[in-house]
């Protein structure tokens, strides 16, 4: 069962990464099992829950469905690259302040989908927000506070931009 591994190079959260992976491996497995970054969650491995969402070349993708080699040369961002406890991203702050976090398992993926949206569209209408996170299942919150958190983070980011 020893699989042949090939070299994969990409940029992860601003750092150059070189890792040997199997040709049938998915990006989620590279991030979690090889690079031991556990912020990205494994929820269904079928692209149906969004827990494993990362941003690849500016677009939100479910990393469980991305063959790892599709990331060859790509720029990949995970929740670890969004902010740290001392330097939280406005989305992270807004999720905390709005009570948008419950069990927390969907939260990293949800924030990545929201970030991909706001990176492209700084002033989304509620319907655009719902579309952007419709691929991220949350079973705890009813999405009410998540949507509010994203709206407020967008506003904060726009104000930051204006300053």
């Amino acid at each position: 069962m020893m699989k042949q591994k090939l070299k994969l190079r990409f940029t992860l959260n601003g750092e150059y990464v070189e890792v040997y992976v199997s040709p049938d491996q998915m990006l989620l497995s590279v991030i979690k099992d090889d690079l031991h970054m556990h912020g990205t969650k494994r929820g269904c491995e079928a692209g149906e829950c969004g827990s494993c969402t990362v941003i690849m070349d500016g677009k939100a993708v479910t990393s469980c469905l991305i063959p790892a080699f599709k990331a060859q040369g790509a720029i990949v961002e995970t929740i670890e690259g969004v902010g740290t406890p001392d330097n939280l991203h406005p989305l992270q702050k807004s999720f905390i302040e709005n009570g948008a976090v419950q069990c927390g398992y969907c939260t990293p993926g949800m924030i990545m989908s929201a970030k991909a949206l706001l990176d492209q569209n700084p002033n989304p209408i509620p319907e655009e927000i719902r579309t952007a996170i419709a691929g991220n299942i949350c079973r705890c919150t009813g999405y009410v506070k998540i949507e509010k958190a994203i709206i407020e983070a967008a506003q904060e980011l726009r104000e930051e931009e204006a300053r």
Partner: protein, 758 residues
């Protein structure tokens, strides 16, 4: 200064928004092996032969376990086996592996190997010869004499445990004195928790043979006891804990449903290596507990003026292949189903039935969504028959403080009337019956439903709790409770209770939860109980600690005890002069050989949170599709300790209720195979599907609750289905009697009533 009543930021939030927080599926240990489970492809069969030799030889495989080489102790994966009230006998009907399988997905064998891929590959090399047995899927059919016996049972064919009977005065008399009687039977579907983190466990054994299990359970202490019974190992040699987070629960983790914990444990014991078992989404769907489906019959009698005379409820639930809360769920359905109204004559008769589908167990609302959907439909039928407005009819009959109750605790507080009135106002009740859709083929309607619920497990299960609140040597505080944080924000709310009781800032407290080696016993986070039941223990611990500290200060500074208090960072006199800072006192005490430890041990009473839900819907007559436009959820929570957390519970519960009402259903084919085994086939609501949800908090300040609080973890789920059922009836003029109100089911109903437009 005071934190109770404020939406302080959750203690676990930074961990979760940064991805730093660890869940079981993230958890790794050096040298760890991976476990995979072989599951039955048949709904009912005897394992005639099982040969593991080919699998054992597969490179990387460390052990293969089956019923032949694992302990045969009987147990129950639901925590109820550890806290069934003494007058009843727990139903023990499961083994780690058995020589018989009872549903498609039942555990047959497990492999530990050096990688998940190897373990999965080796599963194919286990040769099993099944001797097929007849299977039955419907609870009514399963009670017939000709049905196969799925387990031994004494109360009736395939009925687990005992039948629940709740008589209260005489319904016969009540119906005799009624002017109007309405009755109907409702069919309820299987719902699945579909929590985001699948069932998972990592087990490790140390040199002393002590077992540690990091897992997704919402009841670490009871799960320790279940493992102890299953493995024949004393309680003190098993440590169960979350790592520290669990990705949702909703009841499916009250114990060790689907057996990830015991299987990881036996694999670790057999290999003497850490073993990780993470169920796939499909395994989680087909093998972990579901909500009980079944039939609920309701008969209601009333005087012409609307005064209820008699309420008779009968439930027959499908508990599936094993009895996971199969006695308690029908019990709570009845006991709490009868509790919302002051009806002079009440009666309930209910039980569950074994069948060959996935075991049904605890799920948010624990029988109440089934009961409430049915009872509240009949209440609306009564309103219609009497020509009384549904809001008025309910206000006339709802339980009030001091009214006679069939429950062993008194109704000491209720904000139900306010919930009904506020909710009606917010949904625009006065427009009911006058709503018009822009589309001529669509009909709009408004409906409501109410329910009374619980704040802990008693009297249905044993319920008591403990808390330690200890002061570190620098004056900072450690709260330690056995109930884990499964997402409801219990740690934060409990810290608020401790801080305010003690008089210190919220920030001074850190919380340890759900670790059997580090926390005192608790039956866990479920039954809407953590804030209320664990909360009473936390308040007691804080009061105890406060006395310890103030007594020490009184002696040390020679000041009368009743002249001292803790305010913020300081010990102060009644005139507010500072005696010493709390921190300095802790240091002083430490150097003089003393730590302050507060212990709280409480046996909580119970208190009913009350809730009224309202729904506005639109029904498309050309497709049968029901669109839920708005939910107003008014909840008497006693006291909102942390309003943002309370709202979050209500909103999340309400959306789960919308799913229950219109789209969520697990169906089985005629061979017992589950058809909705992933998020694609299981239609829970996405962000694009959510209606407007308005949560209204009503505070009745229950005298038994910590700071007046009652439970709120499950209540958002309970009357949502009822409100939607009644709204749909209001929209189309015909009453559905089966959930969910999917396009398909609505199409059939519309067609039968010549309302379908093609």
């Amino acid at each position: 200064m005071k934190s109770v009543g404020k939406s302080v930021k959750r203690l676990d939030a930074i961990d979760k928004v940064t991805g730093i927080g660890t869940f079981t599926t993230d958890f790794t240990l050096p040298g760890m092996l991976f476990g995979k489970v072989l599951r039955s492809p048949h709904p009912h069969a005897r394992i005639a032969k099982i040969d593991t030799s080919r699998a054992e030889k597969f490179p990387g495989v460390k052990v293969v376990l089956t019923h032949k080489n694992t302990p045969k102790n009987l147990f129950n994966t639901s925590a109820t086996m550890t806290f069934t009230v003494p007058q009843m006998k727990p139903v023990l009907d499961q083994r780690i592996f058995d020589d018989r399988v009872r549903y498609v997905g039942d555990e047959v064998a497990a492999i530990a190997a050096t990688s998940e891929a190897i373990a999965k590959e080796a599963l194919k090399l286990i040769d099993v010869e099944y001797e097929l047995l007849p299977a039955v899927y419907d609870p009514l059919l399963a009670m017939e004499d000709s049905a196969p016996a799925i387990h031994h049972s004494h109360a009736g064919k395939n009925i687990p445990g005992d039948i629940v009977r709740i008589p209260f005065n005489s319904v016969e008399e009540g119906f005799k004195s009624s002017d109007v009687i309405v009755e109907s039977t409702f069919k309820l579907q299987v719902q699945k928790h579909a929590q985001l983190e699948t069932q998972a466990a990592v087990a490790s054994v140390d040199g002393k043979g002590n077992l540690t299990v990091w897992c997704t359970t919402q009841t670490p202490h009871p799960t320790k006891m279940i493992l102890s019974a299953a493995l024949g190992i004393p309680n003190n040699k098993i440590r169960v804990l979350n790592p520290p987070y669990a990705g949702g629960g909703f009841g499916v983790r009250i114990g060790c449903s689907a057996k990830a914990e015991p299987i990881a444990a036996v694999l670790a014991l057999a290999t003497q290596k850490p073993v990780k078992v993470v169920y796939s989404r499909e395994e989680d769907f087909i093998a972990s507990d579901t909500r009980h489906s079944g039939y609920v019959a309701v008969k209601l009698g009333a005087k012409k003026d609307g005064t209820f005379q008699a309420l008779d409820v009968k439930a027959t639930l499908n508990t599936g292949a094993y009895c996971s809360f199969g006695v308690e769920t029908p019990g709570v359905l009845g006991a709490m189903g009868l509790a919302a109204y002051n009806v002079p004559h009440r009666n309930y008769y209910g039980h569950s039935v074994y069948t060959n589908i996935t075991p049904a167990g605890a799920f948010r609302g624990f029988g109440a969504p089934q009961g409430t959907s049915s009872i509240e439909s009949v209440v609306d039928m009564m309103a219609e028959k009497l020509g009384i407005d549904p809001v008025e009819l309910r206000l006339k009959n709802i339980m009030k403080v001091g009214d006679p109750w069939h429950l062993p605790f008194e109704c000491k507080s209720t904000g139900m009337a306010e919930c009904v009135k506020e909710g009606a106002k917010k949904i625009g009740w006065e427009s009911r019956g006058k709503l018009k859709s822009d589309d001529p083929n669509k009909r709009r309607g408004i409906g409501m439903g109410i329910a009374a619920w619980v704040s802990n497990s008693w009297p249905f299960c044993v319920d008591y709790d403990n808390a330690y609140l200890s002061m570190h040597q620098d004056g900072s505080l450690q709260l330690s409770v056995g109930a884990p944080e499964i997402g409801c924000g219990s740690g934060t709310s409990l810290a608020q209770l401790a801080a305010d009781t003690l008089g210190v800032p919220f920030e001074a407290i850190d919380v340890t939860q759900g670790d059997t080696a580090m926390t005192p016993f608790s039956i866990g986070s479920h039954a809407s109980r953590t804030l209320y039941a664990t909360g009473t223990a936390v308040v007691a611990a804080a009061e105890n600690l406060k006395q310890e500290i103030l007594k020490y200060a009184a002696e040390t500074f020679d000041i009368p005890l009743d002249n001292l208090d803790i305010v913020g960072a300081n010990i102060v006199k009644v005139d507010n002069t500072v005696v010493i800072s709390v921190n300095d006192l802790a240091v002083k005490a430490h150097l003089l050989d003393r730590q302050f430890i507060g212990v709280g041990q409480t046996i909580p009473s119970n208190a009913s949170p009350m809730q009224a839900h309202f729904a506005e819907v639109e029904v498309d007559l050309t497709t049968g599709k029901v669109d839920v436009i708005k939910i107003v959820a008014a909840h008497d929570v006693g006291k909102a300790i942390n309003p943002a957390i309370v709202e979050g519970q209500i909103e999340g519960g309400a959306l789960m209720g919308v799913g229950y009402a219109i789209s969520e259903e697990v169906v089985y084919d005629d061979k017992g195979k589950q058809q909705n085994y992933n998020y694609h086939y299981y239609l829970l609501p996405t962000a694009a599907d959510r209606p407007e949800i308005e949560a209204i908090i009503v505070e009745s300040n229950d005298p038994t609750g910590p700071f007046g609080a009652k439970g709120v973890g499950e209540t958002g789920m309970i009357p949502t289905g009822a409100a939607i059922l009644n709204a749909v009836t209001n929209a189309i003029g015909v009453r559905p009697k089966e959930l969910p109100l999917s396009g398909e089911k609505m199409f059939k109903l519309l067609k039968e009533n010549n309302l379908f437009v093609s």
